[in-house]
Each structure stands twice: as C-alpha cells, then as structure tokens.
Amino acid sequence: MRIISGGSYVPYRRLDRATISEALGTPPAPGTRSVASYDEDATSMGVEAARNALANVPPELAPELVLFATSTPAYLDKTNATAIHAALGLDRSIAAFDVVGSVRSGMAAMQLAGSASQRTLVVRSDVRTGLPGGADERDGGDGAAAFLFAPAGADVPAQTTALGRGAATLEFLDRWRLPGEPASHVWEERFGEHAYVPLAQAAFTDACKSAGITPEDLDHVLVSGPHSRAVRVASKAIGVRPDALVDNLSATVGYTGAAHSGIALADVLETTEPGKKIGVLLLADGADALIFETTDALGTIKPRRTVAEQLAAGVGGLSYETFLTWRGMLDREPPRRPDPVAPAAPPSLRSEDWKFAFAASRCEACGERHLPPARVCAKCGSIDQMTSERMADVPATIATFTVDRLAFTPSPPLVAAVLDFDGGGRFRGELTDVDPAAVKVGDRIEMTFRRITTAQGVHNYFWKGKPAR
C-alpha cells in the first residue's frame, strides 16, 4: 500500500435531499448528495480523478498499469479502462483492466495495486442511485478517486506504507442487481447487520494483528459500505477511538460505492500529517481491512484540487426533475431535431489522440497549433510537419459563445463557445457545468472529459470546456 499520489473527483452539482421529499412526500432528509452531470459516467469521472491524482506526478513516475473499479460500468463486454488509458494519453505498452461489478471491486483494485510489480494507477468511480424515493437515491452519491501505487521495494518516495491487512468473505444475499436493471435490490436491513458486523470485526482484528498494533493506535479509521446501518454498528464494534472515525461525507456527497473509501482516503491524506496510522474497513460482500501509515513524503506530490476544495466549489439548486432526467428515470419529450448519431468506430480509432487525449498538432515550421490536428498548416501551409501536443491541461479563454436552444442535447440548452487556448490554438466546442446566463466573452475555461451523448448503444466520449473554478 505504497501510495505515490492520490486525488479525487467530486462532480459540480449537488441535489438537496429536501427536494426529493418535497416532490414525493417522503420523510425529509438533511444534507445534499453529489450528482454526476448528464454528461458524466463512471468512466468520465474516473478520468477526472486520475488527472487530478497525476497532475503533479513527474513523467518518470507515470503509471505502468491501470486498474478501473466501478459498480456502474458504462460498458459490459468492453473494457472501460481503455477509455481512461486513452484520455490520460498513456503509452500503448501499458495494460488497462476493469475490475468491475460490485462495491468490493474498489478494494480489489487497491489490493492488487498494492502487490503489483508495476507502478499501478487505481481508478475508482461510481454513479450511485436507485428508484425514485428510495434510500439508494437519497443516500447515494457520485464521484471518483484515483491512486498511483509504487511497486513493493521500489525506490520511490511513497506517501504511505502498508502495515497490515485482513479479510472475511461470506456468501449471503444483502444487495444485488441483475445486468441491465436500473436499481439494486436489498434484503431486509436487520439481516445485513446480522451478517456484516461479525465479518467486519474479524477482518479488522486480523488486520490490526498483522500490523502489530491495537485498534486504539489508529489515528484515522474509515469505515464504509453500502449497508449504512451495518457500517454504523461496526464502527462502534471494532475497538477504535471514536475521535479516530473519519467523517463519511454523507451530509455532502453521499455514498459513492466503489469510489467511496477512496474519496475519504484522499481527503485524509490531504489533511493529515506524516507518521499517522490509517485503517480502512469496507463492508461489502464480506469485509476487508487495510492498515497503513503516512510517511515523511506525505504531501510531496499534491493533487490539483483537494476533496475539501471540490466540496466548497459544488453548487446546489438542482431540481429533482432534472436529477431524474439526468439519471434516465424521467423520459422527456425530445426536441424536434434529428436523433444524435453514434461516433463510427474507424474514424474514432484514427483520431484516438484527438478524441480521447485531446492532442492538437503544432506546426514545426511556424508554431501554429491546430485543434483538431491537421496535416496541412492553416498559417504557413507546411504539410506533414506536425508535432502532437496534448491540450487537456492547457487553459483557454472564451472568444465568443452562444446558447443553442435548438440543438439536441440531453440537457438543453446547449452552451457552445469558441475557445482560444493559452499559447495558441482555437477550438469550437461545448461548455458544461455552466450557467448559460453567466457566460461572458473573456471567461477562463479548463477542459474536462465527458460523455457527450449515448446513441445507438455507443457512448460518445469527448472533451468539453468548463469555467475554471
């Protein structure tokens, strides 16, 4: 468990839980939950978390393996980690694997990475909801976290070191979802508590034992899992100091499934000090416990944005109807416009560096940048004298813009802008996470990886601009 760098992604929007009870007459619940925008999914949020985690990682420490964990994969039978690999502009020689299907997949990816012989990027991401009015909808949250792990024994400045681990596995029916179903099923709440708590105790005790510590020695303990009652009870039953228990973000973000303990861990690493002992306990189809300690290298490689900064930047005011529409629970009348068309496979492969890595071409003769990449220079006419240049992290300024109330978009109106990039290059594209009434010429923009549309069963991933915050 030697973490070189970590980072999180919490989407911009928050749903006030009171809006659910106002709409449905259900008992009021406090706080907010995070909401993936209409153009986000587990893959796109995973890209954003990975960009955040890798923002300050030097090139010589770039990932050598990618593991992607989610309980809500955008595709089945097709690897989702390849889109993340592509969006990060990683070398083709680096493998990318999915570890998908359940909340426990997030823990699986962490443990595999901790024992891998390559520098491994773990990306954990989830879009969590349920049927309208249910607990999963109310208490769920959307987000992602990513960690870069050092191989055991490698001479790399890691921010954490592993002390111990424990596990307990038991087959029982607490939560399940058939492929294609929009929401999960759960068994009666008290049964889950009955099954989980002893497993949590066993795994945690084993982990402390293998680390050679007692539970009271731990400075920060993250207990999480989809069964909130079992988590609550287990937190008090594992012998840790109450003040060591880490806030589970339920009042702001909600439970983010396979990403959850990752976001909480990122938050801890961003705020704690060297020499602190951290316990992570996951209750999901059994229990898994990890014990590690922060090193003197803590904080040497920082993410671009901390969890706290992202929580502060979040915006409420999302209507429940919009939330339902974004999650596909409310089928709205489409505009009288042609249906969106799926991207075709061959052109998408030909332009992979552009579509996924947002790589422009720069003319070697005159320096002009081209978005999308071009073979013939628009300025000097040179042919095939181009160098590929990644633009995903280059800020831009709005040259002019429009609010398109006619075009098809999953969430009208479509906001589009002509973006002039710092250091040259212009691109006309969509804006997202934006208030159409607040856009101005001259606004500063950063790029974000999104799922533009889903058409004919194909997710169209590409980049959009969003206001720099």
Binding site: P335, R336, R337, P338, P340, V341, A342, P343, A344, P346, P347, S348, R350, S351, W354, K355, H370, L371, P372, A374, A378, K379, A399, T400, F401, T402, V403, D404, R405, L406, A407, F408, L414, A416, V418, D420, G424, G425, R426, F427, R428, G429, E430, V441, I452, T453, N460, Y461, F462
Partner: protein, 397 residues
C-alpha cells in the same frame, strides 16, 4: 493565374420560380416540373431545345436523375451539384460556363429543396460517419456567434444590436408581404420580432429564415443569341465563387465579424464586372440573409457599408425597398423562405423581375430610375469561419 470571368458572354432568357413554403401536396419532383415548365414558358422554348441541365439540391435527391426522371428528359447531360446553401447559385454558375465554353447552345440551371418532409425544427443536415468530436450546433447558433463579436469590436450595446437585427427582419417581412411567391406574406411589427422566442444566442425565431420547399430554374444561352428569345435578357456580368480554407474556426485571429470568403468573392465579382464603387453602382442586391446578423455583416463584406457602420446604415433605412441600395426586395431568405438548392436561383429570379420592370408596383425598386443598372446576388454556405460564398452580378444591358 487569374479569374477572367465571362462578362457579357451568356444571358438568361427565361426563368421560373415556384411559390416557396409548405408544399404538403408537392414532392421535389412536382416542384421541379413546375419551375422548369415556368422557365420554358418564360423563355418561349421547348424542353427539346435545351441541350444540357444542371440541378442543384442539398438533400432532396442524388444524381442527375433527380431532374431527368420527373421531367423525362431525353438522354441529355444532367449534372447534380451541391455546395451547401449556395447550391442554387452553383447550379447557375456551372450552367453558364457550359454555354460560354461553346459546348452547348442552350442550357437550364435548376435548383430544388424539399425541407418540410423532414419533420424537424430548423435545418437538419446529415454528415458522413465521424468521430463524434464536432459539436452539433444548430445553424442559428453558429451564426449567432457573430453578434457578441460585432458588438464588442464596434462598441454596439446589446439593445442597439437587437434593434438592428429587428430592423433587418422587419424590412424583409415588409418586402415579403408584397411578394405573392413568398413563404411569409405579412408585415410583422417590430415589437413582435423583438420579443419572439429565442432560438440561439440573441436570435429569436423572427431572426431566422423560413424552412421551406421550393424550386427555381433559369434558361441560359450565348449573349449574342439572347435577343432571338426575348427583348429583355439578363446578361451575366460576374460569377464568383470561393470555398474558404475553413481556418476561421481554428485561427485565433479570426474575429467573427466578417465572412472572409464573401469579401474575397465580392472583390473578384466586382473586378469581373468592372464595378469600382459597388454602393453607387449596384441597383439592388439579393443577399444570403439566413439569419439577421448575417445580412448585417454581409453589408460590410459586400462593400455596401464601411466596416463597423453597417448597423447604422440598417437603422437609417439604406437597404429598405425605397433606400439607396435595396437589399432583398423580394423578402429574402427571411420572408421568401429558404429551400436550400433553390435559393440562389430565387435570388436571380428577383433580379429578373426587377431589372425587366416586372416586379409588382408595390415592391418595385426606385434605383433603376437613378440610372443604376446592375443587380447582385450573394449566396453563402456553411457558417462563420468555414464557408463557401457566391457573388454574381447581372445587368439588363
């Protein structure tokens, strides 16, 4: 290397134009049969006298069969052309060259579009398979990008700019109200235009051209043969067409206040026609007012107004029916409607009527009486930063 033009080498001897609008009871074939029939009648010739045909359509048919099948054309060359919204002019331009080359004695240029069968709001254009990285913006959105840029560059505030756009729409509806072939034949009060529901940016529904069905056709012969068929032929003075390098959308220096393609096509056309002062010499212009800010910017690109001053000229009424330089006296794309493949020829049809003194009294231009003799048509395809542009000039002498 030079653009020599074919000034006074070919002439139009007959034209036809269907009413534009919602032709629920007519397909593109019917519209072509109507327009071709009217053009032949107008020229006083028979179908068999026409040696070759051009048919322009963006999406209402493919190949020369689009025309030869409904007209049962007897084994003649029929060329289908497409150049986005400039398709109708492209049909005419290529047909003219065929006569000028000596290859044919008499040809016909036609254009047709049947948009209302699509069932969509606004224009829908299908694209080849792609990688999904081009934002699928509507046409009004693409042209609305002109507004904020123009305002910023020339210090026009939002309210003033809205007045300018409204004035353009109001003028074109005023003209269209006097045109029995126009899609919209009613004057529209300025406050109704200004308050219409927003489509994109600051463009309301009344800032957009009409989605329309229609067809138009022209019969062309060598200039020296023209008087065999009519006392009042139109002589082609200039035919200019440019396809831009589409660098505006990638070039930080392009400022969205001009169509470079139009400015270049206009320079070429004026050179071909020997026009040195367009504002003084052009009697009327039919321009591509797909959206109101387009017409505004075109006034500068076509040298009808100084850069940064077209908005003042619009408000002063320079381009009104009774102004110094009437623009879109037939109602333009705004009120006449915009069946893509037909529009360029529809523009020419208005020149045909006005220069021959056949336009109805209540929308007849006054500039001919002042000794001006030339009429200009301008047709645009694409959007700011990446477009194609046609500028043509005709005269009755």
């Amino acid at each position: 290397m030079a653009s020599h033009g074919i000034r006074d080498r070919v002439a139009v001897i007959g034209m036809g134009c269907t009413p534009f609008g919602e032709h629920w009871d007519k397909g593109p074939e019917d519209l072509l049969v109507d327009a071709v029939g009217d053009a032949l009648t107008s020229a006083g010739v028979e179908k068999d006298q026409v040696d070759a045909y051009w048919v322009g359509t963006m999406g209402s048919g493919i190949s020369g069969l689009t025309l030869s099948r409904p007209l049962r054309i007897d084994y003649k060359p029929v060329t289908r052309v497409e150049n986005m919204c400039a398709t109708g002019s492209e049909s005419f331009r290529n047909a003219c060259y065929a006569v000028a080359s000596g290859a044919f004695d008499m040809v016909m240029a036609t254009g047709v579009e049947k948009l209302k069968d699509g069932g969509f709001s606004g224009l829908a254009i299908s694209s080849p398979p792609g990688d999904g990285t081009t934002a699928d913006l509507s046409a009004p959105a693409l042209f609305s990008l002109l507004g904020p840029a123009y305002c910023k560059k020339y210090g026009v505030d939002d309210a003033e700019f809205k007045d300018v756009l409204t004035r353009i729409a109001w003028k074109n509806h005023y003209n269209g109200a006097r045109n029995p072939r126009a899609q919209f034949r009613k004057e529209v009060p300025k406050d109704a235009i200004a308050c219409s529901p927003l489509m994109a940016g600051n463009l309301g529904i009344f800032d957009c051209s009409g989605v329309s069905d229609g067809a138009a056709a022209a019969v062309i012969v060598r200039a020296e043969d023209a008087h065999k068929y009519t006392d009042k032929p139109l002589f082609v003075k200039a035919l200019s067409f440019v396809a831009g390098p589409a660098t505006g959308v990638v070039d930080n220096d392009y400022d969205y206040t001009t169509f470079t393609e139009v400015a270049r096509a206009a320079e070429d056309a004026y050179s071909q026609a020997g026009v040195s002062d367009p504002r003084a010499e052009i009697a009327m212009a039919e321009v591509h007012d797909c959206f109101t800010p387009t017409e505004l910017v075109l006034m500068e690109d076509l040298q009808f107004a100084e850069r940064g001053f077209a908005w003042k000229e619009v408000l002063a009424g320079t381009f009104d029916l009774d102004g110094d330089l009437p623009v879109n006296p037939d109602g333009g794309l705004k009120a006449f409607g915009h069946p893509i493949g037909a529009s360029g020829l529809r523009m020419l049809f208005e020149c045909w009527l006005q220069l021959r003194g056949e336009a109805p009294e209540d929308r007849r231009i006054k500039t001919l009486e002042q000794g001006k003799k030339l009429a200009l048509t301008h047709n645009l395809g694409g959007s700011p930063g990446e477009c194609v542009s046609y500028v043509g000039i005709v005269g009755a002498e």
